[in-house]
């Protein structure tokens, strides 16, 4: 396996790992005193926990913190990323984590899958800016396309990724699906002749 040479998880400052370290014990949170208050987050997903700093009062604050998490993560790699790439990605994150677009099944961007996405960006060096999305469980979604192909990727925790795209095989089209370590993703795309889709 190729080593990236960047150990994010160990070296990055992580101001968001406050969940579980709150001064309020869990039992206090479920007491009647707190239950009487309206739930701060309309989305009940467990995926929100990772990137949501504990006790918050409004959705806007949680979204602000989530956007900050993703942007700080990107800015810490600024030297590896083109300025335009960062700007367009920031704009997309703002749109994905905007309160006026928020719905019941919207999800906060989970930190670990987002770092997996950034690892891929640094390692594989895609020059095209992907279209970004967020999965139901907070995984980072990315899509690249050119005239012939559209690659859809889902980045997960623990350096895992899943990719799918449609390929012409003979007279018919087939869905090609891959799941594995993100370090192998570039090679997979290369072997299937679709690497140019991200470059």
């Amino acid at each position: 396996m190729t080593d990236y040479g960047i150990a994010f998880a160990d070296s990055w400052p992580n101001p968001w790992i406050v969940t579980g370290q709150l001064p309020l014990p869990q039992s206090t949170l479920t007491s009647g005193r707190f239950r009487a208050n309206p739930a701060p987050n309309p989305s009940p997903k467990s995926s929100d926990q990772e990137s949501t700093p504990g006790v918050q009062t409004t959705l806007d604050e949680q979204l602000f913190d989530n956007r900050a998490m993703t942007k700080i993560a990107i800015s810490q790699l600024a030297m590896h990323l083109d300025e335009a790439w960062r700007r367009v990605t920031f704009e997309q994150l703002d749109a994905l984590l905007a309160s006026d677009h928020w719905e019941e099944d919207s999800a906060f961007v989970k930190r670990a899958p987002f770092l997996t996405f950034l690892r891929f960006v640094i390692f594989a060096g895609p020059t095209r800016v992907p279209s970004l999305g967020v999965g139901h469980s907070g995984n980072t979604l990315a899509s690249w396309r050119n005239d012939n192909t559209q690659i859809n990727a889902e980045f997960m925790a623990n350096d895992k990724a899943a990719v799918s795209f449609i390929q012409q095989v003979g007279r018919s089209k087939e869905a090609i699906v891959w799941h594995g370590d993100v370090a192998d993703l570039r090679l997979f795309l290369q072997r299937n002749g679709v690497l140019d889709c991200i470059l």
């Binding site: 367009v88 994905l96 677009h101 279209s131 899509s143 559209q150 795209f165």
Partner: protein, 163 residues
């Protein structure tokens, strides 16, 4: 007491189309122009937290035989009766026959079945999907092969206002 008749759901005609409401976070937009390009395969995942057993959709031909604009507006109106619709969300139009065919290609018996009622016209469900969303091939086929059109809520409203 008379035995209650078991409800039977008919299949949506394979020639018809169904519209799936997609959360803005699962919409593929051009990163620069913000134009809607398509939807991520995850837009067709079952929401496991809700224990969904089928993917909700609307049969578009319920609202008009062949006028696409009226069909999209009809689906949007039906959705608005049930939920708050985000401007950035989109409706993905899928060919019902291709949805069933995608299932066959993935060795799954997928059915598109009518679940409509007087209060919820056109409502239908894509049934037979694996409950854990593990079949990525199927989801990719839905997003890339079965999806014939993607239209944002904003666009549907703009076209309606233009008249």
């Amino acid at each position: 007491m008379a035995k209650q008749k078991k409800q039977t759901r008919r299949d949506v005609s394979p020639d018809h189309h169904v519209a799936r409401y997609c959360n803005p976070q699962r919409v593929i937009r051009d990163p620069v122009t913000k134009q809607v390009i398509g939807v991520f395969p995850q837009a067709f995942e079952l929401r496991t937290a809700r224990k969904e057993t089928y993917v909700s959709a609307y049969c578009m031909e319920t609202f008009s035989a062949d006028d696409l604009k009226v069909q999209f507006e009809g689906v949007l109106a039906a959705l608005r009766r049930k939920l708050t619709v985000a401007q950035a969300a989109v409706l993905a139009r899928l060919h019902a026959g291709l949805v069933v065919e995608a299932g066959v290609r993935c060795s799954l018996q997928i059915r598109v079945r009518d679940r409509s009622s007087g209060a919820n016209p056109g409502y239908c469900g894509i049934e037979g999907m694996p409950p854990d969303n593990t079949n990525r091939e199927l989801l990719q086929l839905f997003a890339a092969e079965c999806c014939k059109d993607v239209r944002s809520v904003e666009d549907i409203e703009a076209r309606a206002d233009a008249e």
